[in-house]
């Protein structure tokens, strides 16, 4: 494979958790090197908080911290704009504003950014966005298209494998708890991953609402809300509807203050019946005591119900 001297930085935050394979394979196939910021830690969060406005959600603060960590480490930092995938398939405004917002925050640096636009309602789909990324880096449509196709294939294979893994986990013996939240919250090592670690240490099998066959989940989300318009929330709703009968409890994990979650989690607690639900809102507190108390008591309540405590 040919290599060139371009390096693209990928902030390990937000949509990275959804698109790491798609982005990674695409750039790799073009011979473009990528560099990923390190796992979220306190420095990254503090740096990001200092750069963001107060009202920004915790995830956006973390994102800006990751972008900051990549400054000067690469030729370009990837800042995709993802607006929608069609009617009733919108992303949160944060993702629509991502390139403008981030460029503005870092306007006084020399850093160059690489952007693309996914806005199906305006006639630009995912493939168009990747062709445009290729074009900006000096690759013709043929090379970019080939890289995109391979990347898409790898992405779909990986997602399928992860869904398959969930299927296996759902058939396991013992206590199972469904985690419902955005991948960039649930998987982030500094904020959400403590929940998964805690559950595993307590002998509970964590399942993921968002690791589902996506098209199916979108359709299924209609069961819980026929009007919800957020793509990722709809996948989670569909995942909850699919798994609610297989788990002993559901934990809604959100980062404060998340607009879509504020509505959707309220909807879930009202409409999903017959299974205990814990609504866990994560903020930038350094201690994990509050989270642990809530998790411990949630597991106890479920175990008490089974007469296991």
């Amino acid at each position: 494979m040919e290599t060139n001297n371009i390096t693209v930085g990928l902030p390990r935050a937000m949509l990275y958790y959804r698109y790491r394979i798609l982005w990674g394979v695409f750039f790799q196939e073009l011979g473009v090197k990528t560099v990923v910021s390190g796992p979220t830690d306190r420095d990254i969060l503090e740096q990001g908080s200092a750069l963001a406005i107060d009202e920004a959600c915790l995830s956006l603060k973390i994102y800006l911290g990751h972008v900051h960590a990549l400054l000067g480490q690469c030729d370009y930092i990837l800042l995709p704009r993802v607006s929608n995938f069609g009617h009733h398939r919108n992303m949160c405004t944060r993702f629509e504003a991502m390139p403008d917002l981030t460029k503005n925050v870092f306007r006084d640096t020399q850093q160059k950014f690489l952007t693309c636009n996914i806005d199906v309602l305006a006639g630009e789909d995912e493939e168009d966005a990747f062709l445009s990324l290729g074009r900006q880096l000096g690759f013709g449509p043929k090379a970019a298209k080939r890289a995109y196709k391979l990347a898409k294939k790898a992405d779909q294979a990986q997602h399928k494998a992860r869904v398959q893994k969930q299927e296996e986990l759902s058939r396991r013996e013992g206590l199972k708890i469904l985690l419902a939240g955005h991948s960039y919250v649930v998987e982030d090592p500094y904020i959400g991953k403590v929940v998964t670690d805690y559950l595993k240490a307590a002998g509970v099998t964590p399942l993921r609402a968002d690791l589902v066959e996506r098209e199916h989940a979108l359709k299924r989300s209609r069961e819980l809300s026929p009007t919800c318009k957020w793509e990722i929330s709809r996948e989670i709703l569909g995942g909850i509807d699919l798994r609610k009968g297989q788990v002993d409890g559901i934990i809604l994990i959100g980062a404060f203050p998340c607009g879509p979650d504020a509505m959707v989690n309220e909807l879930i607690t009202r409409r999903v019946r017959g299974v205990p639900i814990l609504n866990l809102v994560l903020d930038s507190q350094t201690g994990t005591a509050g989270v642990e108390t809530r998790l411990e008591s949630f597991i106890d309540i479920i175990r008490l119900k089974e007469g296991m405590l």
Binding site: D41, R42, D43, I44, Y190, V194, F256, T269, R270, P276, N279, V281, D283, T286, G287, T288, A289, T293, R294, E296, S297, F298, D300, I301, L304, K305, G307, L309
Partner: protein, 316 residues
């Protein structure tokens, strides 16, 4: 020697302790203020319990701790069971009220609701990031109105026309309250309004979407306030039970859990005379800079926690 079990509940405001026998009879009990010093409070508590306790006849074979300082106090007391306060309250209340269906609890800085079916907790909720309508709100409003927090209940019961106070949020409730004072509303009506605000705030936040079924047991420090009890009874349209030992329910629950647990470790009352101190250390092994709490008995490091990863494990 008969076996006895110690339960200690160290909250942000008060520290509670009980010693029970095999049949859950209370052999000794005490309630004191934490005053920002959980270690000092628990040492004092142990001394007070010892004075009430027949050491010739009983020995304490298991110890449980609960409340927000459960881990720290568990280390100091050599606890055999360390449990969160929700589980402790659920176990304590269902032991004494096997028919209970709903447990309302309002403490100094948090509040919770536990729903029970057939003696088993099936669902619960806790206030999330907001401390609206907890004991801390009541005591600050009592101060503003120039009365003792203990007097609130009597004032509230004298009111015939409770003032409407915005209940959604403590900040709004407070500014609304100041406005009503300046408008000339009588003091007992305002106080009754505050009690109503606490009850409706609780039902709209923690109790939101929960089906509250009688018998209802109300506990936590705020349950001692007759005005809030009356407000709950009005709002729910049913009787609200307040146990005279309601403030001890967490301690009782964790004593029962310690009894049920498999670990046994005879409790040594000598801890009341030992020196304990804590030190906060910042772990420098990665950029998370975890705040690690080290607990010492005399000069000996007996436990440490607060690290997010194994790099911060204590080394003796």
């Amino acid at each position: 020697m008969e076996h006895a079990y110690l339960g200690v509940d160290v909250g942000s405001i008060s520290t509670k302790g009980v010693i029970i026998d095999k049949e859950n009879n209370i052999l000794a009990s005490q309630y004191i203020w934490t005053q920002g010093d959980p270690i000092g409070a628990v040492k004092e508590l142990v001394g007070l319990l010892e004075a009430q306790f027949d050491r010739e006849r009983y020995k304490v074979v298991a110890t449980g701790t609960t409340g927000s300082a459960r881990k720290l106090v568990g280390t100091i007391l050599g606890a055999t069971m360390v449990k969160n306060e929700i589980t402790a309250h659920a176990v304590g209340t269902t032991t004494f009220y096997p028919d209970v269906r709903t447990i309302l609890e309002i403490g100094g800085q948090d509040s919770k609701i536990i729903l029970v079916e057939n003696g088993v907790a099936v669902d619960y909720a806790m206030n999330t990031l907001c401390a609206a309508g907890t004991g801390a709100f009541l005591s600050s409003q009592a101060k503003r109105l120039g009365i003792e927090v203990e007097e609130i209940g009597d004032y509230a019961l004298r009111s015939t026309h409770p003032t409407q106070i915005a209940a959604r949020c403590t900040v709004f409730a407070e500014s609304d309250l100041v406005h009503k004072i300046q408008m000339g509303h009588p003091r007992e009506d305002i106080i009754a309004g505050v009690c109503n605000a606490v009850a409706s705030n609780y039902l709209n936040n923690v109790g939101k979407g929960k089906k509250i079924v009688s018998p209802v047991v109300f506990q936590g420090g705020v349950s001692k306030n007759k005005g809030v009890v009356a407000a709950f009874e009005r709002a729910l349209g049913c009787k609200v039970i307040v146990d005279p030992n309601g403030h001890l329910m967490g301690a009782l629950g964790v004593a029962i859990l310690a009894k049920k647990g498999s670990k046994r470790q005879e409790f040594d009352f000598a801890v009341e005379n030992m020196e304990f101190h804590t030190r906060e250390a910042s772990c420098g092994k990665c950029s998370n800079h975890c705040e690690i709490i080290c607990v010492y008995r005399g000069d000996e490091l007996i436990d440490a926690w607060g690290n997010r990863c194994e790099r911060g494990e204590r080394t003796r």
